[in-house]
Assembly symmetry: C4
Homo-oligomer: 349 residues x 4
């Protein structure tokens, strides 16, 4: 069966067939008219790869270091909510697949398992915890502690969600998390988002933990510079997969501005619309140290749990490996900036 | 029922189902090939929102002052003709909804109620009167007087209609206003438009009234400067919803040129194609002090009269509120010019 | 019936229903992949009209002088072959409609009537003759004489046809002119086109006639300058309705380059894709002294002969009249260059 | 039958009807999402032809010299694998058709006949051999020798294939070459591609043969300059028909950068998406000395073997001849750079 699925799109098609309308909509949908959702994907076509030839690419190596730790592929898993809705393997499956592929897994604060459970289930994983800085600082501090104790390697603070984006499909479907899925990290009832959060919260966070801090959802050079000044360790350029503010730019087109502003001061990652190896190659050439995927692993999970996520990661890895070879880059370090250009490069004749 | 309508498009779809072909066409259609009509809408995609993060947006405020009066939301109702054709509530419903939402209602001179009736029905509304400067100055002066006496707050002079645009759908349908709808402000038979109208008429108008004067339909910096020189109080950038001259630009793309030319001398508003909160945010960031919607309230009116209009306004308000929050702006004053950029900003890498 | 036809497109739709496949294809089709054919039309959307307001436009006048003669509308009829295939009225009908509307009719050298017949049928028309300069100079000279004697007002030399463009539809249909249509001006068997024709032929032509000479089919500033140097009286910017070389530019986008190069030395006209008043307005604002339409009158002819052509011309006239009024131009002289701009004007913010 | 096929697209449509899904997919498909495959074709629309008129084009000549040898048309046949899968005529048919048309045929190293067989079957052809530089130098040297002895005129080294591109259609179909087709040049089992190949291999190749060397698959000025420095005789700008790296640019948009960099030091050719005479004209005007087609001859072969290939070449020749005439170029030398411009030429007004 899964033999006939040869690219991420195939897994998405499969998921569209088997998931219920409500569930599918929840994972697929974006905010408002879903223009940013679509644009995330289409914007990759605005860049072209200029492959270099006749370079010895026999011994390829896709590994790199992220926050001082080696990852085998520069393709990680973005945090997405309550994955047991998708498959009984849930977050365990996704995290184990990431571990098997030698890459980063980010646990959403609204996961369907606790921080501790995930930590125990995948003890050697390169697991990061995504959370928000809550108005209730004490509660926040507890979460950070729990992450430290469960051997998480970094904290990912999502900064694009002072409130939930308006996702029409969910409003229409009156989407609620199925009863059998518990959100143990976060007491039901507590307010998930904190609209009064500001840069002082990040400073405070730095003061209470030694874990590296990543800001997820930064979309302007201006904020990237503040982030660097505040001393965060990384930025994950993201528009929440088009789920927060319709009309915000595609992440791949934002990436260069962030890299230019702070690329030498902290690590820059990107997510949004990445579904194949050419996308990854483009992101890396435009300055990302690593990319993340949100929905792609979900489609794999829907197909066959942990195995499916691994399959998805493996496909994109194979595609990236091929792109590297054909573009003349044996390793990620061999990717040169001029290898990816915006279309305007060519329209000038 | 109306619970399942979660965006303006939903109300439009609903209206398309229940209105008669003739009526629907009349409200929906544009001039000629309807390129400008379509472009008004599509042009919003030519701008992207650059959200700023980690700003405290817990206490949001969507209010602003327009011509010295506070409005609770920067989203008003453009003048559209004989609204009783759409729903028995007619202009009363629309004006009451606007009042309830704390915003401006502009009464068309070809309304299905008189100036006085509207004034009495919604005495505390922020009502403006849209009219033309007629060849018959005396008649014009009477209208102005009546507006003053009925407590209207401003006069909106539509300057894009020396003659009626060629709306093929209406010509095909031989559209006429249903018999039961009277146009009491304007004697049937009198010529509605005045092709000999010129800037002297505006000066004359200023001389006969203390009401603020808004010119609706200005599309060039050149005319905006004349308007400022003549001393009008505001400009409503508009192409009459694509109903006058097919081939004229989308209003959102014209807005920056007007703001740049006269933004510091008078208030600049815009209408045309606005259907959601991201549109409003873009218009405000590009310099509009307020936006107006013509058809959107009509679709609400078609759905459930006054209630429907309120619903439509409320949806767009909610969307704008969300956009503000996610873009890091607690108030309209916090919207910064750099928060909205044309796509070319990104295509330059 | 024809009452329900309110724009040129309606006439085209009608023609598509009633004409035989072969005939329709012949008139509709373009060369190769028909990209230039489509682009001629679409390119008008690349320009926007910036209407000026509050100018007295009560007394409008669409007339101008062309080659020293007054035309009532700046919209003439391009030469198209054997019109009796379309309707028994044939060229008489088209020429009479043009005369009735006070404008130019260009007779194709492959008309379905002779020069003399047309001259007699429409003696007071502003008729021009389109021809090629044949290898057989004597024959060419005879044609010119016949045009002079039949009171034609100008000669239009088509310079884009050294050989017939490759129109796949015609090749597929093995299109031949129906037997009952004779091409009396040009002996069957004689070679219609002359690939050895060059600028000396134009000089020679000037030496043998006092009739004004128009070159039809010039698409570059370089050739326009040679034309001006040689002393021709006008240029009709044309790509033969997309029927000669697929991949050549849309005429409306070529127009500015020609106007800039020679607009002050000779009259510049344009044809190609013009189907409504906004198109005409754009062409005039971009510097054309007059426009021509090839297929639009044919669709009118197909509908109801002379009457139909008149109807088509009248519709476009009405549309142009409306465009003038709304754009603030009482006369053609009032059209200012800045009133039409390429889209790039707006994409720069 | 074939009378009704009047352009390359017609042959492609025919092939789509008669070939098996597997075979069709193999020849049609591209890598990944097939964006580059589609873009190769669409990118031709990004250039426009500016035809010059009134130049004597009566005596046209489409010949040129390539590597010192005359070709009658500047349109050759790119190497494509095992052509007997398509038609029993296989490579013989294609090569004979090329010879009959007086142009170059490139034999793929994975042909369905040996070098010697092709050499004997088409002894007077302008045959080139495409190969890779294998890790096994001895084997490579044998191939070169065999090409020399079989009177091949040039070697084409494909440099865009360190490994096979990811062609999803083939993976899905589990495509294998039909059993009855042998690949005699290349022992099954041997590794076809050599990811460790580099510029030293090209130098080595030059040292062991006097045959001109063409590098096929160069897509950057940087590599073109190295190629010139190394002393190769020609570059065939190619992205392998979109079959290697999805996301690489269209070849026609890459061409100008290569021509600018090395056009005066070696011969530059191009393939990718060429299907008609306007495409060829554009490529020549942008600086290609010759173009090649990969799939177009295959569709001809599928239709009627050698005869079909000839037909396809003849159609494109006729189209190019027409384009030359209408653009005012009697010979290839008369094509001037300014005759083809990117669309930006026009969008600047
Ligand atoms: C169903 C779903 C749930 C998500 N939940 C979270 C979340 O809990 N926290 C968070 O920071 N981002 C969340 N995201 C955003 C993802 O982390 C990521 O930014 C986005 O999906 C990337 O785009 P892609 O799906 O196109 O790869 C979610 C996205 C989806 C699709
Ligand atoms: C049915 C209809 C009637 C209108 N009537 C008037 C009118 O009487 N006076 C006027 O100035 N504008 C009139 N307009 C234009 C609107 O005021 C407004 O400019 C336009 O509808 C804004 O575009 P939108 O519908 O996309 O929001 C009318 C528009 C419509 C759709
Ligand atoms: C059916 C047909 C026949 C034509 N015959 C001639 C002709 O005999 N001589 C000529 O110079 N142009 C001829 N043309 C080109 C037209 O004069 C004109 O340039 C073109 O139709 C303008 O484009 P439009 O049809 O989009 O208005 C012909 C065009 C068509 C469609
Ligand atoms: C089915 C197929 C097989 C091919 N085999 C080879 C090959 O063996 N060696 C090679 O250098 N290029 C090969 N190519 C690439 C072609 O030489 C050529 O670059 C490409 O087809 C040009 O694009 P076009 O098909 O759009 O004309 C192949 C292409 C196709 C479609």
């Amino acid at each position: 069966m899964s033999d006939s699925l040869v690219c991420v799109k195939d897994f998405e098609k499969y998921a569209r067939l088997i998931l219920s309308r409500n569930t599918l909509d929840y994972y697929r949908c974006g905010a408002g008219d879903e223009e940013t959702l679509a644009h995330n994907r289409k914007a990759f076509s605005k860049y072209k790869i200029r492959p270099r030839c006749l370079r010895n690419v026999a011994n390829r190596d896709l590994s790199t270091t992220i926050l001082g730790r080696t990852v085998k592929i520069p393709i990680g898993v973005s945090p997405t909510a309550f994955q047991k809705v998708i498959h009984p393997d849930g977050e365990y499956g996704t995290a184990r697949a990431a571990e098997a592929m030698g890459t980063v897994f980010i646990l959403s604060i609204v996961a369907s398992c606790t921080i501790e459970e995930l930590g125990k289930a995948v003890p050697n994983g390169n697991n990061w915890l995504q959370l928000y800085v809550y108005a209730d600082k004490e509660f926040t501090q507890t979460l950070v502690k729990r992450a430290e104790e469960s051997n998480f390697k970094a904290l990912v603070i999502t900064v694009d969600t002072p409130l939930l984006g308006r996702r029409l499909a969910n409003i229409r479907n009156k989407f609620v998390v199925p009863k059998h899925v518990i959100l143990p990290n976060h007491m039901r009832g507590r307010q998930l988002f904190n609209p009064s959060s500001d840069w002082n919260d990040i400073k405070w966070l730095k003061s209470i933990t030694k874990l590296p801090i990543i800001l997820k959802g930064i979309l302007t050079a201006e904020d990237a510079i503040i982030a660097a000044d505040v001393g965060v360790d990384g930025i994950l350029v993201s528009n929440h997969g088009g789920r927060q503010l319709d009309g915000s730019p595609a992440t791949i087109e934002v990436l260069p501005e962030i890299v230019k502003a702070v690329g030498d001061r902290l690590e820059v990652y990107v997510d949004g619309g990445i579904t194949n190896g050419s996308d990854v190659f483009k992101a890396l050439a435009l300055g990302a140290r690593m990319v993340f995927m949100g929905r792609a692993p979900i489609w794999g999970l829907a197909h066959s749990g942990e195995e499916g996520v691994k399959k998805v990661l493996d496909i994109v890895k194979t595609e990236l490996d091929g792109a590297l070879a054909i573009a003349g880059s044996a390793t990620l370090k061999d990717i040169e900036p001029g290898m990816v250009v915006p279309n305007s490069y060519y329209s000038k004749l």
